[in-house]
Symmetry: C2
Amino acid sequence: MSVQAVYMDHAATTGVHPEVLQAMLPYLGPEYGNPSSSHRLGQVARQAVQEARERVAGVLNCQPSEVVFTSCGTESINLAIKGIVKAAGGRGHIITTAIEHHAVLHTVEQLEREGYESTVLPVSSEGLLDPQDVRRAIRPDTRLISVMYANNEIGTVQPVAEVARIGQEAGIPVHSDCVQAAGSLALDVDALGVTSLALSGHKFYAPKGVGVLYLKAGTPVQVQQQGGGQEGGLRSGTENVPYIVGLSVALERAHARREEYNEHCSRLRDKIFERLVTQLPDVRINGHLTQRLANNAHVSFRGVEAQAILMGLDMKNIYASSGSACVSASLEPSHVLKAIGVPQEYIYGSLRLTVGEATTEKQVEYALEHLPPIVRRLQALSPLATT
Amino acid sequence: MSVQAVYMDHAATTGVHPEVLQAMLPYLGPEYGNPSSSHRLGQVARQAVQEARERVAGVLNCQPSEVVFTSCGTESINLAIKGIVKAAGGRGHIITTAIEHHAVLHTVEQLEREGYESTVLPVSSEGLLDPQDVRRAIRPDTRLISVMYANNEIGTVQPVAEVARIGQEAGIPVHSDCVQAAGSLALDVDALGVTSLALSGHKFYAPKGVGVLYLKAGTPVQVQQQGGGQEGGLRSGTENVPYIVGLSVALERAHARREEYNEHCSRLRDKIFERLVTQLPDVRINGHLTQRLANNAHVSFRGVEAQAILMGLDMKNIYASSGSACVSASLEPSHVLKAIGVPQEYIYGSLRLTVGEATTEKQVEYALEHLPPIVRRLQALSPLATT
């Protein structure tokens, strides 16, 4: 990335922070032992994984033995949902929401193909779940409730603690996809009250290819990957020592800087909202104005196509997104925007701008200087736009 | 690892080669894009993954679209076995061997718990499978044959091409765990004739935490991890760009150096065998003498315990193993050694010495200077040893 580039796609991925890379490098170098080896080189690697587990447990306020390292958020989510639901035996029912990441929704769909049933709860036009909807959806055969903490597209923050309380009262495990929340929201599992939660390293300045599943002690779970019995038998496969170390350092670091990060990002985000709303007609803010991640600005412009906006931004070295990176190849409007009822003439012109800890005022100014003319030019060409 | 240390546990894991690390570093640094992002930073990452896929396809002599990147060999194996067997619908039968890695055996056991049946074929006392046993085990409902190419403990090389021919004749897909074979044996999927094969980066100087599944075009497979649809929908989860690049460079490098590597390693291995057999009584070579990996020496000493030998070696900074790293925590004799019928008085005194491309004559001499006295001292204390 050239130094002039303005990266406003932190929700898609972050870069590895230099401090995180430094912590990883010994394990990509001389300390290459297999944690399962009994000799000293193996012991060093085993010790590194154990310390990483303790570091993560410190942030999550759980036992180290409740931390399972995986290869990504998607794997964590698959393991939690399939693992918990299948451990219950027989078939059953799952409750989730319409704005979950595809890692949740497609996993639930796979379970449906296997005979399970699901209730996919709607959210409000502001992208918020009503916890009472969860209570009403509970059936005698409900095996799991899965509700994300923060949405990866529109950034809305869900009432996970309330959902978890409802689950607890009904004796139903509650999983939370916290992939997008990490680094911004508190992840104290006691306060949240969840049975399990999923994290992905690359959302908080660790690399792509490592995740965490917190799994409350005593939770029955069907293992999804069999083999050498690593991770307490819950996730076989030789441990990715460098990334596990990197994730733990990055999580601890992000957790410690959370307040500063939120203050910094929300100031930039609010500037984006304010300027776009005042400078452009026909702009719509997606997601609740305050119940949202500090770094997420999500807007829709009437009568234009996101791809054209993104191309215009790209030519100015501004990197943004129309929604989830995972579906960016598709021209279909996102399921999240459909779920919050973005009107047809706005839905194709949706733009996600997500800032990060290193995003500067100057970069945001630069983006805000170039974005409105691009939108105006496109709207001038559009039969759907009012101007 | 101190410079004086002698690492003879390359079958457990290898270090990341400096050239491989160099190829990875840009993606742990400025080129941190998510391959699914449409902007330029994403395009750079997408291009890197595509080039890596082509590099791997070049070594395997397959189409790039037949290469699936995973998080490890274990995941590749789980996806191949469960994916192929479950795609066939209904229940069915699986053929495998008694000396497979636990990633295969425990996956087959999981399928048995779900109602599938299996035939686990024996091997000869030299650790070799008779392909005719495969032919005889085939049933009308056989869904998959899974035979490893090279054994991870005793290093024996199985007649995979013959097994694949038998599978082809019967119209049954053949999977091969090639994790330990990579870097030493040819992996031309046309010559092997397999339907799928699994690789793990950390066995050939790429990092731990990345694997490959080759899956022949048109093979029906049930996806095991749902989400954003990466890897052609076969393996969701944001791509581990640095490790994917590293694996591809390491595989190409290892493939190009194969002849040199095999010559170098087999010379060291044969020296180990010769010296141990001539210097010690009551030593047994495990696995066929020539139908084995160039870098693998596996021996058993009568009446001693491997742990004591390993501790003695460790004190001399010689790092070895009693068998698979994945089960080194267990005191149970390995299923592989049981399968080849290592006698009771030998089985607990088993030692795996696996050399690598950087292992020197001098290091091997050092190990061979210290190992015999350790074994003799332990045998002198043992009621089971003859000396």
